[in-house]
Each structure stands twice: as structure tokens, then as C-alpha cells.
Amino acid sequence: MEKKTIRVLATVGVSLLFALTLYGTAQAQETQVSGTVTSAATGEKLWGVTVRVKGTRTQTVTDQQGKYALEAPSDGVLTYTMIGFRGTEQSVGGRSTIDVAMEQSPTMLQEVVVTGYTSQRRADITGAVSSVNLDNANKQTSASVLQRLDGQVPGVTVEAGGSPASRTTVRIRGISSFQNNDPLYIVDGAPLQDTYLNWLNPDDIESVEVLKDASAASIYGSRASNGVILIQTKRGGGGTGVARRVTLDVRTGVASPVKGYDSFLMLNSLDYAEYTRLEYENAGLPVPTNIYGDPNNPTVPLYTYADPSTITSVDAWGRPATVNDAGYSYPNALIMPGSAGTNWWKAVFSPALQRAANLSVAGGGADNAYLVSFNYLNQEGTAAFTRYQRGGVRVNTAFTLDRVRVGENISVSREYNQGNVDYNNVAEGGILGKNIVSQPVIPIYDIAGNYAGGKATTLGNNNNPLRDAWAAKDNVGTNDRVFGNVFATLDASHGATLTTRFGFNFGQNLGHGYSPINPAVAEPTFNTSIYENEYSFTQWTWSNTLNYVRSMDRHRLTLLLGQEASKNSDRGASAGCASLVAPDLLSSRYIQDALCSSKNVSSSGSASALLSFFGKVDYNFDDRYYLNATVRRDGSSNFALGNQWGTFPAIGAAWRLSRESFLANNSFITNLMLRFGWGKTGNQQIPAGRVVAQFGGDKGATFYDIGGTNTSVQTGYRQIALGNPNMKWEENRTINGGMDLSFLDGRGSFTLDVYQRNTNDLLFDPRLPGTAGTASPAISNVGKMKNTGFDFSIGYQGSLGAGTSWSASFNGGHYKNEIVEIASGQNCFLGPASLRQQDAVINCVGDPIGSFYGLVADGYYNSDAEAAPFASSGAKVGRIRFMDLNGDGQITNADRTVIGSPHPDFSGGLNLGLRHGNWDLSATVFGTFGNQIFNAQKYWYVFGYFATNVRKDLLTDSWTPTHTNAKYPKIDVSDVYSRQFSSYWVENGSYVRLRSLQIGYNLPPALVRWIPAARVYVQAENLFTITGYSGNDPALPPPVVSGAAGDIRDQYRGVDQGTYPSNRTITIGITTTF
């Protein structure tokens, strides 16, 4: 009775909506045919396969158990079609049971995709959702799964440096906020907002889906404004009939940087001597002779530096000619030889071994499933003394007890890194910066084998980069992580399923390190120090959902209702101590009174909570017309009472034209669907606690010795941050139109999405005038940003005769980012950080976020007459000529303007595959076009700031009166004018790169008796790059930069401050299953 009532109500409801299209034409009744449709590859039961009597309009759809039943003529033919699978036909031939196994179509991936608290058939998705082809993605060996997505997903950009364990920046369809633009990651149903996913073993991953538009993502409302990346890990295969499956992957490879500074910096000391001569002579200054002697006949010095007490004679230029080696003493009386040319790049960077092993055991029975996997990864850095290791265990089990299914999925991992491996954000302080700083005449080691340095005058503020790498070798960090969830599902019949899931993410990061003395440099340090850091966090999310699925005739209705609560907290403490009593004694490097002096401790913490309610309804008729609606309501503790709650609705609709009669029998089109979606998502990724004004103090910044004691301070306070109780959710409205086409029996496919994203009420801390003080400005909802663009993918799989098949797919995207509004009255604000006192980045209304900013360079002043009008600003012949944009007769900061953009016009990837017999070959090419790079490294290798090493071709291609069409301005040590930030620093950042190339061979099963199946492969990553960029590597990850209002790295894209270059990696591996 009850059951019947529900069915009737549901039927009536949907019937009313689609009354006009409801009725199919009844056919003559002949035989009852039924059966089960499964996937040929996995044995999985297929839900939603259309079964049709050929030549008629009689059809049905398989249910969740893959079962179907219909009336058909006993001599008729049944066709079975489903998106993502190759269509097939069966003659009835009088049979009453016909079971069919369907083969997956080559260009489509999973049939069922996880799209938010529930699964959907791929074919039913109306939003912009991309599934990652993990077969392709896994042909890259990076430690992070995210880095493997590069070039795989239309509209998704992935950026990372080449250091082991480098962080990854993923952006979906441009940038929508001044603050954090990281997508939301959902790993096995548990949310994560953390760009660092290196702890997750890529080999454990079953599927990756990217929800790109609001109609797909808004079920995650609160945090989905930058898109959602859903990651499902592998599970045991219960019920598939495979009792146990053991998989072992082992691979090993060698990585080396794609390019090094040694390819264009000076390597010969006498070249540098000539550069020095020109630098000074052209400036009208006396040429220093303390290193190279006679400027007109320079020689490599016997000694770059010798302590005065050891010098026994000097040459005509005052250089040490003979020294008393016996007078050498470390660290106070050093003697360093001269070098004919040190290759600092080679001194620091060398090929590095990378190894990984993964073992998994999976299986299960009718009512249980399990998977256990073990993973170990060891990546040496290409930079000396660096290493990254990861070990992890993942366990998941599930048990079915009657209608209840319970299980868990837990991973435990430890990462261990050594030597400050994450060099993404180093600028001049890290070993890359130090590499440029180092002149070739400086030797690596002094005469006693200790690290040398640029101690002598005119050698710059050089730190020996190899020494710096060595000094960091005792800096060790570990990250321990427990991540996972436990769940219970109740199949409540009537198509209703109740799920409760408790996800957790506990972690602890520990670090400790040691800084030794550094005596061999111009600014020596004789202090030793140690540090010890501890940071731990706890995040949990409890979600409860009700799913209801109703399939009736050609109607299908799904309903989702849910509630979720989540809480995050973290605490950290750091401590340091200087002047170690016994610095060389490893066991004494602890922060204890007797072991060192001047302890220094601090600690911090934050906490936040989210509470959410959501619902979604999906309806489709006949797989032809789709309609869905989502609404989510979120409360965030980051806002004040009254502003905590935001509501995020979305709708989606789609029309499968290929189901219409006018296309039903089209021989070309297999599937054609038009999609439309609109929705609203939110963003609250700001630091916790910014509702109220914050006060505090700092012993070094607000405490003061008011008593004049000279050795004590009294407590002082100041306001450290302004609060804003009126902050509310940042809102992002997305409209998306899309088309899915597959053709020629699914061999070809094409997907196109066009979108516009408008962000309103941007959460942002507009900078206040200096007169308001240095407290962090309040975060408020000001500003608007717009992204418009499209992304597409096109693919085809063909065959070249028996046993040979090929596939190609191309995906790409374009977005245009535009700042529509900043705070009232503000048209522009400068980027978050300045480089050596100059600002390279500005954000202006009408321009994209993170635009480059500076003067406009217009060749060189080729004559005194040209320079004369601007002489008071510093113009001289041979210097860069700047445009006087405001026409005031001077070149000043007021002449700066927007001079470039880091955003590409187009980026995309091409995946190619070829399979012949047991052999397979695949390749991925990635390209980005139209983006620019602000080459901040020109500070050093073009302008020689700080007496650094410079580019070789400065000697041949700098401005001279007879070479005015030069690449570089006149060499001149006194020229502070030319190096003002200008369009001279902006370069085309386009590049095309062969990301991966793999050849694999499947060993025939009988070849090795105890291995049932195995595949061996050789692969290469980043084999070649085509680019016009003059720096090291055009693939630039944005540095990790945080402001008072959160992550602001997107205001610092495309600025090359010495990024750790990508690696060329050659790997061999074997995968076996038994």
C-alpha cells in the first residue's frame, strides 16, 4: 500500500512535467526477452543501457542490477547502446534470456562517475565535468598526483617546480579571487583545502574528476568557487568474482634539470674580467685590479682571497703572489685560490635517482571487499644534498551485512625531506639565486678543502651555492598524515540509501635544522643556530546523506539530501637557539640551556568550523531531457553572526539530441547532447578570526626599554589587524553552456564548454594608506572579477588493421581574466611583494589579476641629444630609453603602466597512443601560448646587480655606438636607470613541451612462470621544450606567497625569480599482477 502510493505519486509528478513527450508507441507483443548487461572489461553490471528492438521504437533501460526486460519479435534484433560503450546487437533467435557484455568505448572513461555525495552515470551529467584519463596521467612520475594532471584536463592548469616534493598550483578556468584560488579537493568523500597533496600516493588513485562549473560544483557550495577535484582511491573488488589480485609496480629513473644557468652564464673567468673592465670603463671609473690585475691584460689570480697575515708577497697589482699556506687557519685566516672558471650550475646540480615501489593486494567476496597497498618513493633532488622520501600504507575494507554496508578507507603516510627541498619560492636567497650570484673566478673549495666564497672586494655578496646546499643538509622535515573516513550505508529499499561518513585528516609536520658558521664570504657569520618546529592539525568532516533513486519506464528521478559539519584546528610551535656550545656534536643540537644560548620560542594556532545543509534533485526523461537543481546552505565561523550563512543554488539542463527521432538513426552521430548550467558558489578561504580587531605585541616590535636599562624591555601593545564584522561570503556566479558529441560508434568524441564566471563581493583586504598604520587592513567584500572562456577536448581512436590501434586526443582551454572592480575609489593596487625595492605586479580594473607593471622601454638612447631631455632622471647614451607617458619631461614612477600579463591565451595538451600487439607507445605534449614572463632574473644576469655572474652574450650583444641594435644596454656599473622595471623585462612565455613519452611491452603470460601478467615500460618526461624564453625554464610555478588575508600567489604569476627548473626524467618500470 505504502509502496504503491509512493510509486503512483512519483509517476504522476513527473508525468505532469513531460506529459507531451511521455508516450511511446506501443508495438505488437511477441516474446518476453530479459537479461543482464555487464561491462566486458570489469564485469560490472551496467545501469542505464538502452535496449531497443531494432527498427522499432520499442526500448527499455537496464536497472541498477543491469537487468532489462522487454517484448520483442522472436526473429527480431536487439540493439544495446550506452554512452561510453560500443554499441552491440543481438539476434533474439527465439531466446528469452540474452545476457550481453559491452566493451568500453575508447574515448570515454568511467561509466559511473562520482560527482558529489553520489555517483552519476557519465551520460547523465549536465555540468562541465572532466574525467582524467589516469592511464595517460600516470605516464608521469611526479610525487604528486596533481602534477600528473598537466595537459590532461581541458581548462585546468597545473604548475610545479622541479624540486622533489614541490608544491603544486592547480587552477580551474582562470582565477576568480584576489585570495586563495585553490580548488576544493574531495578525497574519498572528505574535503581538503590544501594545495599539498604529495602525501597521497598517486598509484592508489582510481579516478579523478574535475567539476568545473557551478552547476556541477555547487553541491559543495561553500568552497567550490574555484572548482572541485574529486579523487577516489582504489578499493577492493568485492563481488566481481576476482578472489585476490596482487599488483606490484616498481620503477626507477634518473632526473636532470631541463636546462641550467650554465647554458648561458659566463663560465670563463677572463670573460668576466672583460665584462668588469667594460662595466667600469664605460662608467668612467677606474677598473678594479684586485682580482684580474691589469685591465688590459687580465689574468686569473693565483688567489682570490688570502688572509692578510698569510700573504708573503704581492704582484704589481697588489694581488697575493705568494702566500704562506701554513698560516691558513679555519675559520679566521682563509686562503682561496683563483678559478679559471667554476661552473656553479654543475657544482650544485647533477642527475638524481628516483625510485618508487607500490604493492597492492585487493580482493573480496560476495559480502566483503578489501584493499591494502604499500608505497615507497625515494626522490633525490637534482640539487645537491636534497632528498624526498615517502612511505605509506592504505587500507580499505567494506562489509555488507544485509542492507547495511560499513567500511573504512584509511591511509597513513610519512614524508621525509632533507635539505629544504621545496625550492619553489627562493628568489635570491636559495641555491638557485646563489648560483647566479657566483662569479666564475670563485673556487668551490679553499686550499684546505673547506668551502670557499666570494670574500674579496668586487666578488659580490656571494654565498657559495654548494656550501649553502651543504649547510641545509641537516634541515630535516617530516610530515605524518592520517587521512581517511569511515562510513555506513543503509539500503533502505524503495531506492533510498542513507549514508553517514566521518572523514578525518590528522597531521603533524616536524622540522629541525642547523645553520653552521659561514666564514668564507663578504658578510661572514660566525654564529651557529638550530631550530625546531612543530605544527599539527586536526580536521574532521561528518556528512550524512539520503539518496533516493527512482526509475520508472523512461523517467528517472534521483534525490539527494544531506547535512555536513566540519571543524578545523591547528597549532604550531617553533623554537630556535643560537651559539651552540658544541656545534659539531650532532647529539647536542637540542634547545637546552646548557647546549646553546638565546632561546627563542613562539607558537600560534587557528580554528574554524563549517556547517552545511544541501539537496539536489535530478530528473531525466528517456535519457533525452535532463533537469537538475541544487541548493546548499553553508555557515562559516570565519564570519560574524548574521553573516555566517550563505545560500548557493544551481540549476542544470540538457538535451540529448541524438535520442530524437531526427537523429536516432544517424550513422555518424552516436551521442549528441547540449548542456546548460547556472549556479552560484562561495568562497570563505580567509584566515580565521578576522571578524574582530586583533591586538598583540612583539618583543622586538612593540616592547621598549623605557627605563633606559639597556638590557630589558617592557611590554607594549599595538593593533595588529583591523576587523570587519560585516564580511560575508564571496560569491561566484557561473554560467556554462556545453556540448558532448561522440561519433562513429563512439570512436570519436568532442566536448566543448563555454563559460562566464563572475565573482562578486570579493573577499579582499584592500591596502590602506600608510597613514592608517601597519595593522593588517580589514578583509571586506569589495571588488569584482570576471573570467570568460572555453575549453574543449576532441579525441579519436582508430585501428590500423588487426592488433593495431591508435588514439589521439587534444584538449585545450582559453580564459580571459578581468578585474571589474576594486574597492571604491581604487583602480589599482600593487602586487603583494616587491623585488629588491621594485614592484613588478599591479592589479587594475580592466586588466587581469597580476599584470606586469613598469616603464615602457623603447630601444636605447642612441645619442647624447636623445638622452639630454631626460638627463636629470638619469638618461645617458646607451641606456634603455623609456617613454615619458605623462609628458612631464621626466622619467619617474608616474610613467609606469601595465606592460604585460602572465595569463595564456591558450593552453592545451595532446595525448597520442599507439598499440600493436603487445607493444604500446604513448606521448603527451603540453603547450601554453600568449602568456608573458617577467624575467626578474635580469636583475642579476643582465644588469649585474651585486656583482653577480652575467650572461655570456653581454660581451657580444650589448649596446655600443656601432652596435645600437643590441640585445642589452651599454654595460655600465653606474647605470641604475636602465634597470628600472620596464617592458624590457617582459618576455614571451609561450612554450611547447613533450611532457611524456612511453613505450611499453606486455609480457605474454607464459613467459615467466610465476608471473601471470606483466608490463615493462620505458618512459621519458620533458624530453624537449620549444620556447623563445631566455631564462632557465618557462614552466614557472607561482611562488607560495601569503598575505594577511591569505594565499595571494595568483598576484605573482609568471615572475621568474629563479625557479627550480623542471626535470628531464628517464624511467624504466615493471608492473606485474599475480
Binding site: 539530501l561 622586538g700 621598549y704 636599562t709 591596502r767 600608510g770 646587480y945 656599473v973 628600472q980
Partner: protein, 605 residues
Amino acid sequence: MNTRIRNRLLRGTALVVLVAGVAYACKDFLDVPPQGTLNEATLANKAGVEGSLLAAYREMDCNYGSGGDWSCAASNWVWGSVPSDDAHKGSNSGDQQPIYDFETYQWGVGEADAYLNGKWITVYEGVVRANATLNLLDKVRAASPGEISDAHANGIRGEAIFLRAHYHFEAYRMWGSVPYYRATDTDFRKPNEAPSAVLADILVDLDSAIALLPATPRNGDKGRVTSWTAKAYKGRVQAYGGDWPGALTTLREVKATGPFGLQDSFNHVWTGFTAYENGPETILAYQASVNDGEPNGENSNFGERLNFPYSGSHFGCCGFHQPTQNLVNFFAVNDSGLPPVITAADTTAWNAPCGGACSRDTNFVAGDKTWAVDPRLDWTVGRFGVPYKDWPAPDPSWVRDASYSGPYSPKKNAHESASGSESAVGWVPTQTNGVNIHLFRYADMLLILAEAEVEAGVLENARAIVNQIRTRAAAAAQGPGTDAASIGVPLTQAGSVYSLSEPWADYKIGLYTTPWTDPAFARHAVRVERRLELAMEGQRFFDLRRWGAAAQVLNDYVAIEKLRTPMLTGAVSFAARHAWYPIPAIQIDLSRVGTEERLVQNPGW
């Protein structure tokens, strides 16, 4: 069967509803206070007000949190010393290049802006802290009247208002035309006022402070300002504004009845010995502190930490703020112990360039005593062969690149070895010490008074002050000693001339014995004395500008000094627009309201 399922469904639904309900009903779930900070209410008491006031004092010198690099230094070495004829940026080419841009008057280039902005942010943060103290004080007084006594409340108010005036004066000296902010201001995009209006506002605040402040420091804290501090400061501001009669009245009163006096000996003015610190000469000083538990030495005279001799010295780094040859030559004396520059015959010869009669350039090497020198030279400038306070004598290894900016080292900010006033912690412990930074000292005030006396025509009063200063200068010259008592050695008096011969130098200093009758001579003599007394203290550039002498003196200086330190060939000529520093472009941009930029750039920038 149906019932069982329905029950399960009900139970499941109940579970969901229950969970949702519990979470929602628990209103506190989303109530998460900020962690690890204080709020306004926590500080609304006496401790909060006093702490807020201390933070306002603290902003007088740099810390890691302050605006930019070395632009925030209490001593103003970047702004008042390097652009003048006193000092070079120092170190070597490239290091802290924006300071070179200021030295060579290229103030409009891009990288200079960040330095200017650093100073701007520093002074206005000082203003904000002072105003925050006043607002918090009002709040506490209103809410709990008994919490702070009237006397303390007046004292706190007076100190905060004084500091507000001081920070605005710093801004005024840089840019002239700046906005003035009081505790009641909420619009931080106010237009800048004319320089004269800024001075008037500063004087209003100083008068309030004078009325509110006690005559002796509150709580006996040596670092606190008093009504006398404010009065002396008022005289200085009046002098900057050209109100000579006003300055005369104010400063005569301070001299006659105030608590200040000259330190017994010149080497006890800039010192790490606590016994001499905060003596009678201190009017306003940044109270530096070391080994106070702060792990980076930030409470030391942090803005000076580049300004120590280079790696061959104990200090190790970084060789910035090097005295010029021009300054060193200025300390030569004639047979009467007076500066040659005051005699008509020697107005230019005292600094004759090399290639001509440049003997003085090379004579200032230890042991060469061709010229006797004012004893203050060797308390001001580190020279090869002359003991460096009680440290060994510098040699060429103390200088990073003599071809770039000469052989001399700064000395006033260095601590004596015996003082023990050196940090044990931080990046550069040897370069962070407890030597207080004088922002205003009594000799400075006396010399301003002397200027006022000259302008009033009372030349003999001016002469008396100059002789008072010179007599004190004769109290001690650099000696070979290594403890507080013997570092300085007294000069021997013979009539009006004091002298002392040491192995490295002949020291001599004489008094002006002839009555001053010519105002021009008197003005010149006072100004010369001012340079000698206050060299390297960050005053010189502002003095030259105040006197209207900057263009002439600095262009002449560069013309000759560039023959000695060729890097000065990069200097552009000092022109009318250099009257004020450019207002930081970023601040002009941030002052925009609609399309209007509320801050107007100074002329010529």
C-alpha cells in the same frame, strides 16, 4: 517485511535529522574566537594604555616588522647623512642600491620609492600608535574613572601627544607637505597640508604636551619625555619654521631653567656604557636594549646594523654609512685650533681636490701629523691606525671597497668593547648594540639657540655657546685606553687652545677669543660648529636645506668628492625639486578617493 524496512528507513531518517538538528541547535558550533590574539576589551585598562604608549615610543627605530629596510633608522642616516656631504652609502656597488640613488640625488627612480615608502610607513605608524593610546586612554577613563590617576592620565596624554608631534616632524623634515593626523581622525585619505600648516599643527601639539607633561620623567623612567623635552623640541620646530624670535624665547628658557646640560666629555655622548647614557645631554633618545630576551637583537639600535666596519674588524659587516673625505678634511684645525674653513683664505683650500693641493686627503693616515685635527674627528670617524674607541685600530681590511667610498668607517654608533653593550644573539650580534640613538641632544639644541642668537643680533651669546661646545670637545681625545676611564685622554690647555699629541694624531681645539661682530661670520661659525659637533648624526642634510645652502654646498661637494670616489660621477645635480623628498608614489595612489589623488606630489617629482 514492509514494516521492518519502514522502521529502518525511519530510524535512518531519524539519525540524519538528529545529527543535523544537534549540529544546528548547537549554536556555538560556528562561534570560534580568533586564536592567539588579544582584543580591544582585554587592553581597556591601565596596562593596556601604558603598553600602547610604549609601542608608540618603540616606533622611533627599526624592527623587522617596520616598513622598509634601513629607511626606518632612528638616526635618519639614509635621509639626513648620506645625501649630505657627511657620508657615503658605503659598502660596495650594488648593495642597498636605493641608498646610492639618494646619495646621487636620483630620487625619482623606481627602486627609491620603496625606501621613501618605508620612512612614510614608519612615521605614520608612530602617529597611529600615539593616537591609539589617546583613544584607549579616553575609553578607559570613561569606563572606569579610577583606573588611571589624573596625574598619570595627563602624563600619558602628554607623552602620546608629544610623540605624535615628533613623528609628524619627522614626516615634515622629509616631505614638507604632509597630512596631520589626530586621535579623532577616521579618514586616512586626508589631503596634505602646506609645510607651514604642518609646523603650526606640530607646535599646537607641543604646546599641549608642555601643558600636560610633568617636569620629571613619569615613574622615573629615563626614556620618558617631560615638559622640558617638549619645550626644547618646540624651539627646534620654531627654528625649522624660521620663527627665530620664538625659538630664541623658548630655547633661552630651556637653557636657563631646564634640566639639560652637556655631557662632561664628547665620548660620553655616543656610548655603550650605561653609566654615561641618559646623562644631562639627552633630550630625546631611542633607548636601545640588548640581551633582553628578544632573540634577534631587534631592540638594539637596529637601524644602524649595517653601519659597522667590515670583515677585518670585530664587527664583521657591512661597511655602510662611511664618512666622506670632505667631512674628514673639515676637522683639520689651524694653529689656533680653529677650523680653516672660517678663515677667508681657506674657504675652499681646506678641501682642495687631489691633483691640486690635496695634501689633506692623504694626510689623514695614522701617524701623519701634517695637520692637527679637532679631537672630535676621532670620535666621529674610524681612521686607519687610530684606535677605534677601545677596539684595535682599523686597517684596510675594515673597509669593504675603499675605491668605492673611501677608507673611513662610522664610529659614533659603535659600542666600546669594555661596555659589554653588544648583543649575543641575532643575525649580526656584533653589529647590534645598546648605544642609544640621539634624536635630539642638548648640544644640538644649544647650537640652534646660537643660530637664534645670531639672527637676533646677540652675537656674543652665540660665541659663548660655540665656545661652551668647544670646551667640552676638549675634554677628551681618542686615547689608547681600554676601559671606560682611559679611552678618552684629556687635552692640555694653553690659554684658549687645547692640545694633545698621540702617536696617531695631533689633537688641537681652540676657542673663539675675538668677539663676534659680523653676523655673517657668526652665522658661518655657528654652522661650521654644528657640522663638527653633529657630523654623522643624520642632521646635516636637513640643516643645509633649512639654511637654503643645500644646492650650493652639495653641488660643490660632489664636484670635488667625485675625484676621490668616482662613483659620485653618477650624481645628478642638486636642483630646486630636491627641496623636499618625493612623496612615495604608492601612497599617492592609495590616497585616491574616486579619481582624485588626495596627496599631492611635491614640486618637480
